[in-house]
Amino acid sequence: MIEALQYDFMRHALAAGLLASVICGIMGTLVVVNRIVFLSGGIAHAAYGGIGMAFYFGWSYLLGTLGFSLAAAMVMAAVSLKAKHRADTIVGVIWAIGMALGIILIDLTPGYHVDLMSYLFGSILTVPKSDLFIMVAIGVAITFLVTYYYDDLLALSYDEEFAQIRGVSVKGLYFGMIALLAVTIVMVIQVVGLILVIALLTIPPFIVEKYAKSLLQMMVGSICLGAVFTTSGLWLSYRYDISSGASIILVAGIAFLLSILIGRIPWPSLKRRGKADVSSM
């Protein structure tokens, strides 16, 4: 790994991976506890429609993608607030339409065609420095906002009704959280690709959730796990000359399976300790 870091592109890739871990660790925790993994997938896929529009109408990439994703995300947020039990269907529809729209618009655009694969898996090895600065800015903004609204987000995520009774403007906060999520997803997709974003949003928080006693612990734990996954994935991809994005995801996936297996083993010593705890109460 040390020798690999003498290359600029590896240093940038590592920085991008670590920044993505931080951003996804924080937002992913909120995604997992609010059970909006599917909605995040919807935003990420619908973003492709924005990419298509940006190309077809000649808008700037960022403006088109961010605008379209934010609009799609707000529709999904409104539906999931209004009709919870119907939300997954609507999200699925927007997900599909967004992707189809993107593909057709790119077909219709003369000349240069973006590669769908680079959108799916990103190109962490060719991240330019400017993108790293954008990620730092997003990371700082997210950390600040989530810290500022931490108690409100905690109440919203745990018990929405109670949050409302305590005077939290639940709707505003929910829309804000989804908007922040849309911005996160669009910006991080550009760097590491759609699949890696979903993996980093869901896998580390899921593994950590069982052991964490607070949202903060879950966020910090997810960031650390994400950092381990991206670093070891990058090393594997360098060592064996395989795709970097896919390597990171597979490392995370194996950890995910291991955590489930470990959770299922009936540890005798742990059980006994648990029982003693109960009887001492």
């Binding site: 109440a155 745990y158 018990d159 109670f162 009774i165 305590r166 006693k213 607070s214």
Partner: protein
């Protein structure tokens, strides 16, 4: 000027055309201790949510302390019916109770040491202080219920609404629990939704029977007639244990076989 903390006038509400509340009128007086009884689907939870401002009724007016319900909700303590929500959520018992101290208007003026002390005191009152640092999901249903009540108490409410609070608590615990509510009633107005007719009648001051319409009875007596109008449609009647004024006379209503 009335002494009512909550005033409901001609309140009606329907979910997707299904009537839940019909022309409900109720003034909850300061210091009252109301048991709300009635069959499932009788609109009890809906009425609580309307008082809390979580649901706005289709018609009628709701005033809490003379203000629209959603503005006054912070003076109400609420213990929801379902305490099984989000059992895997990474949150400690103490943090659940501290949620009761949430005040978005005073973000920078919080005193976390005082809040913690008050939260611990509320947990102690519910006999749950020793579990403060446990994860909420590791508790039993009855223990979780006590934590949620502690969360409601720590909001220093003037009105306490409890939706079937003893569902997960054993009989001995129930009696202790209602005794605690009776103590709290010295300062706090209480409305409790309950099916524990046996236990409850020796603690409460009045009864509200809820079956889409609401009938308010200004004493603690739960009569045969009330039960019939509330629970019974002839032909599918179950024996109901009744206690009036704490005198244990049991009246078993006959099953009417067709």
């Amino acid at each position: 000027m009335t002494n009512a903390i909550v005033e409901l006038k001609n309140v009606s509400h329907a979910y997707n055309g299904e009537v839940a509340l019909e022309d409900v009128n109720l003034d909850i007086q300061h210091g009252d201790f109301i048991a709300m009884i009635g069959p499932n689907g009788g609109g009890k939870t809906t009425l609580l949510k309307i008082i809390l401002g979580l649901v706005s009724p289709d018609s009628g007016t709701v005033r809490v302390k003379g203000e629209p319900a959603h503005k006054a909700s912070s003076c109400i303590g609420y213990v929801p019916q379902n305490v099984d929500i989000n059992r895997n959520f990474p949150i400690s018992v103490l943090d659940v109770v501290l949620m009761g101290k949430l005040d978005p208007k005073r973000r920078w003026a919080r005193n976390s040491a005082v809040n913690r002390r008050e939260a611990m005191a509320a947990l102690d009152r519910m006999g749950m202080a020793s579990a403060a640092n446990k994860k909420i999901g590791t508790l039993s249903g009855g223990q979780r219920q006590r934590v949620f009540i502690a969360r409601a108490l720590v909001t220093a409410p003037q009105l306490l609404l409890l939706d079937e609070p003893t569902a997960g608590i054993d009989t001995k615990g129930q009696a202790q629990f209602y005794k605690l509510l009776k103590d709290l009633n010295a300062e706090i107005t209480i409305v409790v939704v309950s099916h524990d007719l046996l236990v409850i009648s020796s603690y409460i001051k009045s009864v509200a029977c809820m079956n889409k319409r609401l009938h308010y009875h200004d004493d603690a007596e739960i009569t045969q007639e009330m039960l019939e109008t509330m629970y019974c449609t002839k032909g599918e009647v179950c024996p109901v244990e009744m206690v009036a004024h704490g005198i244990p006379h049991r009246v078993l209503h006959q099953h009417e076989e067709s």
